[in-house]
Symmetry: C2
Subunit: 239 residues, 2 copies
């Protein structure tokens, strides 16, 4: 089942009928592994299928000048390229951070599924809108917060989203990104990002070693970050 975590996530947020769950669970798909830093697609590509993250993290990036900017991070259960259903030209790269497993489902199948179910249309459209809401928060994060709360905010968001798909354990989670990835996501230099990480460690707000992150005091971290999870729309159900 490519979509266990996907269904878990949608289920938690909007609720699904048995029928719709069944449709999602039985999507024809092809599974593929990606290695660290391997590209799922590149800017300028066109595609006729969508990717569902099964394990590992993916991220979107744009190269601007000599910098690489990470635009968003995708976790198991996410569909990082759902937008390709309506926008075929890729305006950025999609890359694997660490090894990952991805299931691919064809556009033609997805389209037929959506025609037959207004609910699933609503749910998947909604999913792309939450994606956009997260971009907005990132604009605010990168544009308005100082380095410390910016990095803290990213950890808060990831923790909240990982919790939703059952990948948090005792406030800790597997984190395949490097400090350089973190820097690229926050629009900071890697040297400064390193100093920020050290500051957060000294403050006892994060523990990070061996691709494993722990947030022992999430409340304080969220306060420092100014993290308001409303933009994730976990409990904003229109149905």
């Amino acid at each position: 089942m490519p979509s266990t975590k996907l269904i878990a996530r949608l289920q938690a947020v909007v609720g699904l009928s048995d029928d719709d769950r069944g449709k999602l669970a039985n999507m024809p798909h092809a599974v593929r592994q990606f290695a660290d830093d391997e590209h799922i697609f590149r800017q300028g590509d066109r595609t006729s299928r969508c990717a569902i993250v099964m394990s590992g993290f993916l991220f979107r990036q744009k190269i601007v000048g000599s910098r690489s900017q990470i635009l968003s991070i995708y976790l198991p259960g996410d569909i990082p390229d759902l937008h390709t259903l309506h926008l075929s030209l890729m305006d950025h790269d999609l890359v694997s951070a660490g090894p990952s497993t991805v299931a691919f489902v064809s556009h033609s199948f997805l389209n037929s599924m959506l025609v037959s179910s207004p609910t699933l249309t609503h749910v998947l459209w909604r999913d792309t809108l939450v994606d956009a809401a997260i971009f907005r928060e990132w604009v605010a994060n990168v544009g308005s917060r100082d380095a410390l709360s910016r990095v803290a905010h990213l950890f808060c968001e990831l923790a909240a989203r990982l919790e939703l798909v059952g990948l948090m354990e005792d406030n800790g989670f597997i984190f395949p990104l490097t400090q350089e990835h973190l820097a690229d996501a926050c629009g900071l230099s890697k040297v400064h990002t390193n100093r920020i990480v050290q500051a957060l460690r000294r403050g006892g707000l994060i523990e990070w070693q061996n691709h494993h992150v722990k947030l022992p005091r999430r409340k304080e971290l969220a306060e420092l970050a100014g993290f308001m999870p409303d933009y994730l729309h976990f409990s904003d159900n229109k149905l």
Copy 2:
């Protein structure tokens, strides 16, 4: 007709059948004027209708700490809150920059229209996806470009989008925002933004007076900004 510019824009990008154009042209709607700085809605609100910009500029903003971050700018023909069709809780403000005219169409009407037309579903879903693509570019803009190209990039984007709805004349357009708005959109202080604007003026790249902006050398400006219009998806038609 609330939707002249909207139809022009969709027409230019995806093409519409006479039937679909008719449906859009005949949407029942209520028109309302907004004054400078007046809020169309605020963070935390819920709404049961969508706004179509008829004249003037609107912008989305988030308050983070003591700063106000502008997340996107909406022009005539845009539907700045199409996402409310599926996400009812507002995670940001929508504000009028200068006086504006807005047409409101109820969710219930829009939903019934979408059920009856897969094409319009595609077109409007697509519209929210272009919105998201613009957010991504803004993350990259604010996260990766220096102040000069950041401001230049914003002007390039607005010019391209205004052109699409016929609001550019001789490389100039009406621009109701203040330098402080520009600063809030670019994640810069207003003092520094002012110096950047002066630099662009000195370079002959922009003229700006009386709410009127002119870009006499768009090519050079685009080069300075690293502006690549692919993310606007003007010529990326899936139908």
